[in-house]
Structure formats: structure tokens, C-alpha cells
């Protein structure tokens, strides 16, 4: 194992998303104690020299490794789950983790169909003996509370019927609210919340069209400073753009663990719905196919599982 090739492979086996089980088995499994010592000495980011003259595992790395080994298990468990239970658990987890991940709540409330969201609310009753809106209203404080409660409570009309003048005037309302962002935070504006949380998706698409005519920009571009609202607006009518962005972030090198979890979440929850459109959008936006990027960044069983899910469409 003194060969640097094997050292490199082992290093890779432990870096990225998931672990390369096969290499670990064939290289580490077949190694002599001396070779393992070389391995430990050759990977200072994994092991450090202890004052008592032995190489000890870096505790932080061990913790991270635990997550990496679990990625495959989490993906499988999430995939086998009923979509309702999946969404209910994802919301609960987001509530527990705190404001940085509230985007997941927006994601679920806005990209699911009305019946899917309803199902998630039912499952939430069974799993947690509370209603989603109850917990969201109770645990979230701060400007996004009203919007999030409204989004998870929605039961939107799903037909195609749209009233054009209403769409036009509501585009005006939104444009006005966004222009006055320095006076009132648009995320707390009652009219913004009403429009985004009660109107049907077909209606909102018309609203966005009119918005572009009025302001010259796409509405999500104008919301760059208000992240939750930007996510809301994207998730409601152009979910593929939103999802491919989540994937792109998750597949970067130095991102926090919540961002990385986006990879499993998006692929598992969308593999049966709009994965094809997400793949197309991803390739158009970032110039590389999603499968290739996963091949580069992920390892082992986790990688194979994801690639299988992605290749289904």
C-alpha cells in the first residue's frame, strides 16, 4: 500500500458524499498493520500525531464520516417511505434545525400538489400528534412566520381558469411591495402573503408574466435580497430552476452539511415526478450533466443509488 495510487484511492474513498465501500474493502481490508500505519501517517487531515507517539483519528472527521456512511441508509429509508411521511418528516426536521433550513418548508409547501400537501398534513398528524400549521406557527418567530404558516395551510385550486385583470392588478401590487422593500419588508406585507399563499399556480404564472411586463425583470430576479420570497416564487411556478440550484449547491466542495443533504432530498423526492425537467434545467444552467457531476462527487453505494434514481427517466 506504499503505492501512492492506493493511498489516493483511499483518500477519495473517504471524501465527497458517501463512502467508496468497495475500495475500503479491497484496499483497507487487505492491508497489513504496517500499511495501515503508512495510511495513517499519509493522511494528516484524518489522523494527527498524538504526543504519546501514535496517530489518532481526528474526532471531527470521525463525526463527519459517520454522516457519510449514513448517507446511503438515509437515502434508502427516505426512498422507501410513503411520500406523505417523507414530507411530514422533512418539515419536522426543518422546524427542529432552525431558520437556516426553513427553505425546506417553503420547498415542500410550494412544489407539492394540493393533494400531496394535504397528505403530508395528514401524515404529520399521525407522526407528531400536532398539525403542521400548529407547529410552524408555534416554533417560528420572526418575519417569515406569517408567510410560512400561510404556505403550509394552502389548498390551492388546481385548475387552469385565470382572471386576467386580477392577475394584472396583483402583479402591480407585488411590484409596488418589492419597490418599497426599504419601508416594509415584503415578506410581512399582507397583500404579498395573500397573493402568494392563496392563488392558484396557473394564476400566479399569469401574475409573473404581467410582472415582467411592468418591471422588466423576472420576479425572482427582483427578489434576490429576500431569499424566502425568492424561493417561494420559484418553487410555485418554476420548481425545476429551484431544484437544480439546490442540487448545484449540494454538489459543491465546501458546503455545510445541511446544504449537502439537499442532494438526497431533491433526488429522492423528485425521482418520480419532474426529475427529467430538473436534469434538463441543470444541464442548461451549469453545462454538465447531473449524472456526470454526481459521478464525480459521490462515492460507493450512495452514488450508485442516486445514479439509479436519476437514470429512471
Amino acid at each position: 500500500m506504499a503505492l501512492t495510487d492506493e493511498l489516493k484511492t483511499l483518500n477519495n474513498a473517504f471524501s465527497g458524499l458517501g463512502v467508496d465501500e468497495k475500495s475500503l474493502i479491497s484496499i483497507l481490508g487487505n492491508s497489513h498493520p504496517e500499511e495501515r500505519k503508512c495510511f495513517r501517517k499519509g493522511t494528516p487531515h484524518l489522523f494527527k500525531e498524538d504526543e504519546r507517539l501514535f496517530e489518532r483519528w481526528n474526532d471531527d472527521r470521525v463525526r463527519l464520516l459517520k454522516h457519510e456512511f449514513m448517507r446511503f441508509k438515509n437515502a434508502v429509508v427516505l426512498w422507501a417511505m410513503h411520500p406523505w411521511e417523507r414530507d411530514a418528516r422533512l418539515v419536522k426536521e426543518a422546524l427542529k434545525k432552525g431558520p437556516e433550513v426553513y427553505g425546506v418548508i417553503v420547498e415542500i409547501a410550494c412544489t407539492r400538489s394540493s393533494e400531496e400537501l394535504l397528505g403530508a398534513r395528514k401524515a404529520y398528524h399521525s407522526l407528531f400528534d400536532h398539525s403542521i400549521e400548529e407547529d410552524v406557527a408555534y416554533h417560528i418567530d420572526g418575519p417569515e412566520k406569517k408567510l410560512l404558516v400561510a404556505l403550509v395551510s394552502a389548498y390551492r385550486y388546481e385548475g387552469a381558469k385565470v382572471k386576467d385583470d386580477t392577475a394584472k392588478s396583483e402583479a402591480q401590487t407585488l411590484s409596488h411591495a418589492i419597490k418599497n422593500a426599504d419601508k416594509t419588508n415584503p415578506i410581512e406585507d399582507d397583500e404579498v402573503i395573500r397573493i402568494l399563499s392563496t392563488r392558484s399556480k396557473a394564476h400566479l404564472r399569469e401574475v409573473y408574466k404581467h410582472y415582467k411586463e411592468i418591471s422588466g425583470q423576472n420576479i425572482d430576479e427582483d427578489l434576490d435580497v429576500a431569499l424566502r420570497l425568492k424561493e417561494t416564487v420559484q418553487c410555485l411556478c418554476t420548481p425545476q430552476t429551484y431544484f437544480s440550484k439546490v442540487l448545484e449547491l449540494a454538489l459543491r466542495n465546501d458546503v455545510d452539511k445541511n446544504t449537502k443533504k439537499g442532494l438526497t432530498r431533491v433526488i429522492v423526492t423528485r425521482a418520480d415526478t419532474d426529475m427529467k425537467e430538473i436534469k434538463e434545467d441543470y444541464e442548461n444552467q451549469y453545462g454538465v450533466s447531473l449524472s456526470n457531476k454526481i459521478e464525480e462527487t459521490a462515492n460507493g453505494n450512495y452514488k450508485d443509488f442516486l445514479l439509479t434514481l436519476v437514470a429512471r427517466t
Binding site: V149, A154, Y155, R194, T198, S200
Partner: protein, 314 residues
């Protein structure tokens, strides 16, 4: 307990024929209509409509709408619809009034079970191609909008789990809100519109234990503004729906000329559910049977129909 008296065996085709006979030709046989429809439950009425459509290629509802008139027609129209559809119609009427009739909305969202409320929302979408909350939000503003939209979009947990600590802390929040009359609107709306009914009962009970009076009494205020009145109504509906309906009926009858809308609404929507219990509460509070009060204040076919729904024997 329901007051509706309906036969266990019936023939949808016979009923459809009889109804046809009562509307064809000159004039209308209202007695026959009352005697048939006033004794059929929701399932049976649905079958009759289907049979009528099949036999005569005509919508029974539309036919009755054109043949009947006034309070009687409004009552029959509401009665003959499916319960969820009926509530959707009532909600839409309430919303479109120039001054949104918030009581109807609050009643519906607080008295129904979560699944019943969901059925109303679905029926509303089917009929009006909008979501209930969409229309409601567009026709209301400010705190009233917040309260009403929150109430209709709720999908409350319907189990028996109670968190006593939470009940204590939320009873305190409610108490502060009422005491200061400043009504920390966000918090009280949150509690009333998201907590499960059992959790709310625990909260109301704790309030009563701490303050010595029930929460509905604590909210009585002549000068209350619309929003406070709405909160009051929501709390009464959540706390004790039968007492609430008794009061609606009492006010409807007391008013000069009586408020037919409210009278019809309560009798038609509760006849198959708990109108019998409401009658008992009414008798206890007014020393006069509900039928008597209704008979005194209404007349003609409208009166006959209401009394039939109240369980009068033919």
C-alpha cells in the same frame, strides 16, 4: 342527535316521479315537495336528484329554483344540496356580501371536523374554480382577514393528546389578550386557528379554573369592534357549538320579522346532525319549544318546511 325523520326504505324513482308531478303543469304542490324532501337524508336526496335527471333529463334543483320562491325556495335549495356543497354555497354568499358575513365563515370552520371542513374546501373549488381561502382573503382585510383565513385553512389534529403545560401557558396568553383588550392578535389567532379542539378545550378549562368565569362570559362587551366580536364567535363555536347555535336561533327569531337567513341556515345545516340537542338547549333557555317559536314567527310553506325538518310528524 338529528331531528330529521327519514324512512329506511325508499325508492328514488318513485320520489322523482312524485316530485315531477308536483311541479308539472299549473301551479306547484308545495305540500308534496315538503313531505318528500323534508323526510329524506343527504344520501337519499342525492339518489333522488340522479333519478330525476335520468328520468326527465332535467336538473331537479334548477326546476325547483324556478318553481318556488322566497324564503321557502331558499330553504329548499340549501336543503337539497350535498352538505359540503351547501356549505360552499353559504360561504360564497357570505363572502360576496358587501360586508362579509364573517359569522357564517367562523361557524363553518370552527364547528366542522377537520375532514368536513376539507370537504367544504373541495366542494368550493369544484363549484367556483377558486380556493375558499383565495376568495375570502381577497374580500377581507387586516386582522379580520388573518383570523378568517387562518380558521378556514386549518387542518387540525383530531386526536386526544393534550399538553397540559401548553394549555396553561396559552390560557395565560388568552387571558392577557382579553384583559388588555389590546388583543395580541397574532398570538390569539395562532392559538384559536391551529390548536386541536381537545387542546383548546383544555386551554378554555384552565382559563375558567384560573379566572372563575368561562371564557365566553369574559368576552362580553357591548363596544366590541368587529374583530373582537369575531374572536368571541370563534371561541363560542369552539367551546360549545350547541349553545352557540341556540343563541343564533334565539336572535334570529327575536329580531323583528326574524332573520330568515340565519334561521334557515341553522335548521338546514344541523337537522341531520345535532338539531335535537340544540332544541333541548333552546327549551332550557327559553321555556318554549323551538317549534313553537318558529311557528309563531314564520308562515306558509316556509314554516311548514322548517317544522318538518325540526321533526314534526306529518
Amino acid at each position: 342527535m338529528a331531528t330529521l325523520v327519514s324512512p329506511p326504505n325508499f325508492s328514488a324513482n318513485e320520489d322523482a316521479e312524485a316530485l315531477r308531478n308536483s311541479v308539472k303543469g299549473w301551479g306547484t304542490n308545495e305540500k308534496a315537495i315538503i313531505s318528500i324532501l323534508g323526510h329524506r337524508n343527504a344520501c337519499q336526496r342525492k339518489e333522488i336528484r340522479a333519478a330525476y335527471e335520468q328520468l326527465y333529463q332535467e336538473d331537479l334543483i334548477k326546476r325547483l329554483e324556478s318553481e318556488l320562491s322566497g324564503d321557502f325556495e331558499r330553504a329548499v335549495y340549501r336543503w337539497i344540496l350535498d352538505p359540503a356543497d351547501r356549505d360552499a354555497v353559504l360561504a360564497n354568499v357570505a363572502i360576496k356580501k358587501s360586508n362579509t358575513d364573517y359569522n357564517v365563515i367562523i361557524e363553518m370552520s370552527c364547528v366542522h371536523s377537520p375532514e368536513e371542513l376539507l370537504a367544504v374546501r373541495r366542494a368550493y373549488q369544484l363549484r367556483y374554480k377558486h380556493s375558499l381561502e383565495e376568495d375570502l382573503a381577497a374580500h377581507t382585510t387586516g386582522d379580520m382577514r388573518k383570523l378568517l383565513v387562518a380558521l378556514v385553512t386549518a387542518y387540525r389534529y383530531d386526536g386526544n393528546q393534550i399538553n397540559a403545560k401548553l394549555a396553561n401557558s396559552e390560557a395565560a396568553i388568552v387571558h392577557d389578550a382579553i384583559k388588555d383588550k389590546a388583543f395580541n392578535h397574532e398570538e390569539i389567532i395562532r392559538i384559536l386557528s391551529t390548536r386541536s379542539k381537545t387542546q383548546l378545550m383544555a386551554t378554555f378549562n384552565k382559563y375558567r379554573d384560573d379566572q372563575g368565569i368561562s371564557i365566553s362570559k369574559a368576552l362580553l362587551d357591548e363596544e366590541a369592534n368587529d374583530f373582537q366580536k369575531a374572536l368571541h364567535t370563534a371561541i363560542r363555536c369552539l367551546n360549545d357549538p350547541k349553545k352557540y347555535f341556540e343563541k343564533v336561533l334565539r336572535n334570529a327569531i327575536k329580531r323583528l320579522g326574524s332573520d330568515e337567513d340565519a334561521l334557515t341556515r341553522v335548521i338546514v345545516t344541523r337537522a341531520e346532525r345535532d338539531l335535537r340537542d340544540i332544541k333541548e338547549v333552546y327549551y332550557k333557555k327559553n321555556s318554549v319549544p323551538l317549534e313553537q317559536a318558529v311557528a309563531k314567527d314564520t308562515s306558509g310553506d316556509y314554516k311548514a318546511f322548517l317544522l318538518t325538518l325540526l321533526g314534526k310528524e306529518d
